[in-house]
Amino acid sequence: MNSESKFNPEKGYVALLGWSLNAVEAAEKFDRRYVVVAPDWAEAYCEEHNIPYVPWNFERLNDRSVEIAQTLQEMGVDVAIPLFEETVEWAGAINSVLMDKPRLFGQAMLLRDKALMKRRAQLGGIRVGIFEEAHDKGDVIRFLKRVNQTLLKLDGDPNDPIHLKAFDKAGCLGHRVIRTPDEVDVIPEEEFPVLMESHLDGWEFAVEAWIHNGKVAFLNISEYVTLGYSVFVPATPDLEKYREQIKGEIEKLIKTFDIDFGFIHPEYFVTSDRTMYFGEVAYRPPGFKVFELLERAYGFNAYQALIMTFDPKTTEEEVKAFFPKEVEDAKGYAGCFGVYPRRRVVSKLEIPEETEDHDYFESHELTAPMEETVTKRTAFGTHWGLVYFFGDDPYRMRDLLKHQEELDFYV
């Protein structure tokens, strides 16, 4: 149970911003005192299960925001940890009070706005693609034309696509790919303003980096098989061969954004000439259950790592002892696949036999369909659930994940 005595008094007291069961579980099993800061719908659950809890509704920052910082300060909390994109600026605001470092708030605002973030990266000498903000559909059409003119395309040649992303949403939410001016018409007005980016033909991947005292404590490279569908860790040797270069890029990010502690989750493209392009960076755990995959592959709890690297009372030795050696210490490769129904009308969930029988198949969290008609995907959309795999060969893993895209899980 939740007795105070199980926590190490030498260590810090952390606040988790946002509700994540896996994060709470990790904290419960760890040695730091913790408190969950979450909207009031979590209250009953926390009470029932004896989870330390402070209610707070994370809407927009406003003049009442300082209340939560003061509450946490009075409780003796040392640091606030953002679990979701929406709580990143809250963590910045709270930590600037708790740690008496006003710049943390500015840093958080930078990390929350994709356009500001790209500008800052550019200023720091980090290579980014072409990007612009769009306030209406006209801006999008102009950008699409200009990018393709730059690429010396003639009228009638297929356009290179551009990407549209919401400024302040996580991952694939609100992400659209636009190839022709017709496609611009379907974008709802309320999605503006958006960030537009040129398309980079390259290999997209993500990095999870834990930072302690301004240095990289653990760096994982997550290989996307197909963006929005599948990911696995560690990456294949084909991608891992860039590790040193990637580490250099991360160190540039740390310097540019003045990040001292915590965890970052940037995305990059590497083009065929080995040039790295920065996509974006998030100051919170990644989606797609990468933390769970890391635990499966390495055995350490990534949320505990998060708590540790945020905690100002953590020592260098503890960090060293906590993390395994990247790639070498992995017990195998862990991957997951996000299932989208492929048919327009589905009636039941049926895991394909070949998937179910595969040595690498571990489990899935798919549920029976609630409705028979599948809503057409507009943007990248949300998958219906994940299927987990684990095995010892990264190439088999990659091909297996790729192959899942051709199978029907809902029929």
């Binding site: 069961l21 896996n22 709470v24 579980e25 419960e28 099993k29 659950y45 029932e48 299960h49 989870i51 036999e353 070949e354 029988d357 595969h358 040595d359 198949f361 571990e362 489990s363 899935h364 969290e365 987990y388 684990f390």
Partner: protein, 676 residues
């Protein structure tokens, strides 16, 4: 990419099994190390890894070996499987054939866990090895066909590859328990149950049907076993010459129409003998009786196998009996014939109100709600009224055959049984109120208590695995019983003191003795309690007075390891000497199967020690050692000091060795400091 087990060398299979077993161990570790609030999220992976292991040959053994650690992750929590003692074997037919993977996996897991319990490898807090063994023998019996042959078309269509798991589990169970013993053990099991003459025999009929199917299947070699099933099978499917080969009721009717009086008489005695041998009635018997009622009523007494008492009663109330048969006995409700025969034998129809009350029953209109409930439980034919008549006949004929089904309603079942036994017209009144009016009103210390206005009963929901009378009446009784309990809130001591006499009837003694302190759960005045029990019930110490009315009593049920399981209600029926001149307590246990092992060599007997059908019995001392509540008449005083101190000491020792072990009050702990 299809993968076939047959073509892969066994080494590869072993390797694969080892990998999957490792995965399973990982999943168990993850689930058991997570805090309670997030356990649930670990279950999909755990269930999936169990499924993967079970899909492989040898997988069942892997899961069985891990049964305890898997159960300890809380995988069964929140479901019936968490309480294996309430599981009903016949339901496994459905779950093992379910098209839903999780259902099949959980059911299979539960069986493998009980196998570990039965084999002694896993000491379960709520189930003894013997209980688990009984249960699994029945599961095997009910799923016998999964052992033999290949999956049927229906199985494949519905379940696909899941059938592999169901079949593997049943085969594994049979292997571990022993093939040759299944059928014979099963038959013994059926006889043991049948000898208690329960009213509800659906499960028994199903098991016998399975044995019959297996015996008729040329692919199944049962060797020398299975002989003891002849009488069971024939009593259901061919009790007489004219239906020996189970020709169907239509053909049988044609045959008896062509029979002369002598042949009919032989049919009648054949049916009656089968019925009285087993307590099971064949649908042919129902057809015969209907025919005799119209064509040859003089043979009815033969067909019911009546003695002179029963025949006398039949002749006195011929019209009524004919009406009951006409309205209530159909091939589907044939079991009612056994109840009818025994009711006639009991002579209760000579009590003035009983015959008119039965006439009311024959014509009783049922409320829409009652009709719906009966339809849900028993189907559309015959009509609900017929089912209820069958139920009434069964209950009046077999008052000790009442069972509570899978419901925590032992009190209500006990009351029904007690009324059927002791106050039959009151029971008929209850049935009329419940079935016709959807409301029963009883009185508690002068205050009316309506079943309609009472909030909730002891049981959240009453299941349908009950006889027709219980099905309609128990929901009302349960709510009233719970309401009476609520009306005692605030009184000091155990509420049964007041509720039992008000609920069961005036004959329940108003004196009340309990040996447990309600506040602390500790034992209270144990010696005094036992002396008092002796002078009230034991003929040697109560002036040789046989027990007059059935009395409610409460016992502490223990399992075969003598560990406390829970409190339970039963009825003390009589106390007398058995054929070895031992003083025994004969009692009724509303639990569906009275034959239980309560540990410390206390095995409840259901036959062979002078029990009447449906009675359970124990030697007086052994019974006293599990007793915690009894009623008595406060005006009848005996001499407590006449009871030998050594008898009392032996019993108190038995209490301390079992359910009383951790209930000894502090001053009794001088010699033993006990666990800290």
């Amino acid at each position: 990419m299809t993968y076939s087990n047959e073509t892969s060398p066994s080494g590869e299979l072993e390797h694969k099994l080892a990998i999957k077993a490792q995965r399973l161990d990982d999943a168990i570790e993850v689930a058991s190390s997570s805090p309670s609030f997030s356990r649930l999220t670990k279950m999909p992976r755990l269930i999936e890894s169990i499924r993967q292991v079970l899909m492989l040959e040898g997988g069942c053994a892997v899961v069985e070996a891990r049964a305890r650690s898997i159960e300890q992750t809380g995988i069964f929590e929140g479901s019936d499987w968490a309480d294996p003692q309430i599981l009903i074997p016949s339901l496994t037919r459905l779950s093992l054939r379910s098209p839903y993977s999780d259902t099949v996996v959980i059911e299979a897991l539960s069986e493998l866990r009980l196998l570990a319990v039965a084999k002694g490898g896993y000491e379960h807090p709520r189930m003894s090895a013997e209980q688990a063994h009984h249960y699994l023998a029945q599961v095997l019996a009910i799923n016998l066909e999964l052992l033999f042959g290949t999956p049927s078309e229906a199985e494949r269509e519905q379940q696909g590859r899941l059938a592999t798991i169901s079949r593997a589990v049943i085969r594994h169970l049979a292997n571990r328990i022993g093939y040759e013993h299944i059928i014979d053990r099963l038959i013994d099991e059926i006889w043991r149950i049948v000898n208690q003459r329960p009213i509800q025999v659906t499960d028994v009929r199903q098991m016998i049907t399975q044995i019959a199917i297996c015996r008729n299947n040329p692919d199944i070699d049962l060797g020398g076993s299975g002989q003891g099933a002849d009488r069971l099978i024939s009593s259901l499917f061919g009790p007489t010459q004219a239906c020996r080969e189970d020709p169907g009721v239509g053909v049988y009717l044609e045959r008896i129409q062509a029979m002369d009086q002598a042949a009919l008489q032989s049919e009648a005695t054949g049916c009656a003998r089968a019925m009285h041998d087993t307590g099971l009635v064949s649908p042919y018997h129902a057809a015969l009786v209907q025919y005799l009622r119209e064509q040859s009523p003089s043979l009815l007494s033969e067909a019911l196998g009546l003695s002179s008492t029963g025949r006398d009663c039949l002749l006195c109330y011929q019209d009524l009996v004919h009406a009951l048969i006409q309205q209530g006995i159909f091939p589907e409700t044939c079991q009612g014939l056994y109840g009818l025969a025994l009711m006639l034998e009991r002579g209760i129809m000579y009590q003035p109100p009983v015959a008119p009350a039965l006439w009311r029953q024959v014509q009783l209109p049922l409320s829409a709600n009652a009709r719906e409930r009966i339809r849900l439980a028993f189907g559309d034919t015959p009509e609900p009224r017929a089912w209820l008549i069958q139920g009434v006949l069964s209950m009046l004929g077999q008052p000790l055959g009442v069972g509570q089904g899978n419901n925590p309603t032992c009190q209500s079942a006990r009351a029904l049984s007690m009324w059927a036994y002791n106050d039959p017209d009151y029971l008929l009144q209850m049935v009329a109120w419940a079935a016709r009016d959807d409301e029963i009103i009883m009185h508690f210390e002068g205050e009316p208590v309506s079943s309609r206005n009472s909030a909730s009963g002891v049981a959240a929901e009453i299941t349908l695995d009950l006889d027709p009378v219980s099905l309609l009446v128990v929901p009302h009784l349960d709510r009233i019983y719970a309401e009476m309990g609520r009306m005692c809130i605030g009184r000091e001591g155990d509420p049964h003191r007041w509720v039992n006499p008000e609920f069961h009837g005036w004959w329940s003694g108003r004196g009340f003795s309990i040996n447990v302190d309600v506040a602390t759960g500790n034992l209270l005045d144990l010696e005094r309690f036992l002396q008092h029990f002796y002078i009230t019930y034991h003929p040697y110490y109560n002036g040789n007075q046989p027990l007059i009315h059935p009395q409610p009593a409460g016992i502490a049920v223990t399992d075969s390891a003598a560990r406390f399981i829970g409190w339970h209600a039963l009825t003390i029926l009589r106390v007398s000497l058995d054929q070895q001149d031992r003083m025994r307590v004969y009692f009724f246990n509303p639990n569906n199967d009275s034959g239980q092992n309560w540990g410390d060599d206390i095995v409840v007997s259901t036959s062979g020690n002078g029990e009447r059908f449906g009675e359970a019995s124990l030697p007086f001392e052994q019974f006293a050692s599990r007793l915690y509540i009894f009623h008595f008449d406060p005006l009848e005083r005996g001499n407590p000091d006449a009871v030998p101190a050594e008898d009392i000491a032996r019993i108190t020792d038995m209490v301390y060795r079992s359910w009383g072990a951790d209930r000894v009050p502090a001053e009794g702990l001088q010699a033993d400091s006990g666990p800290v």
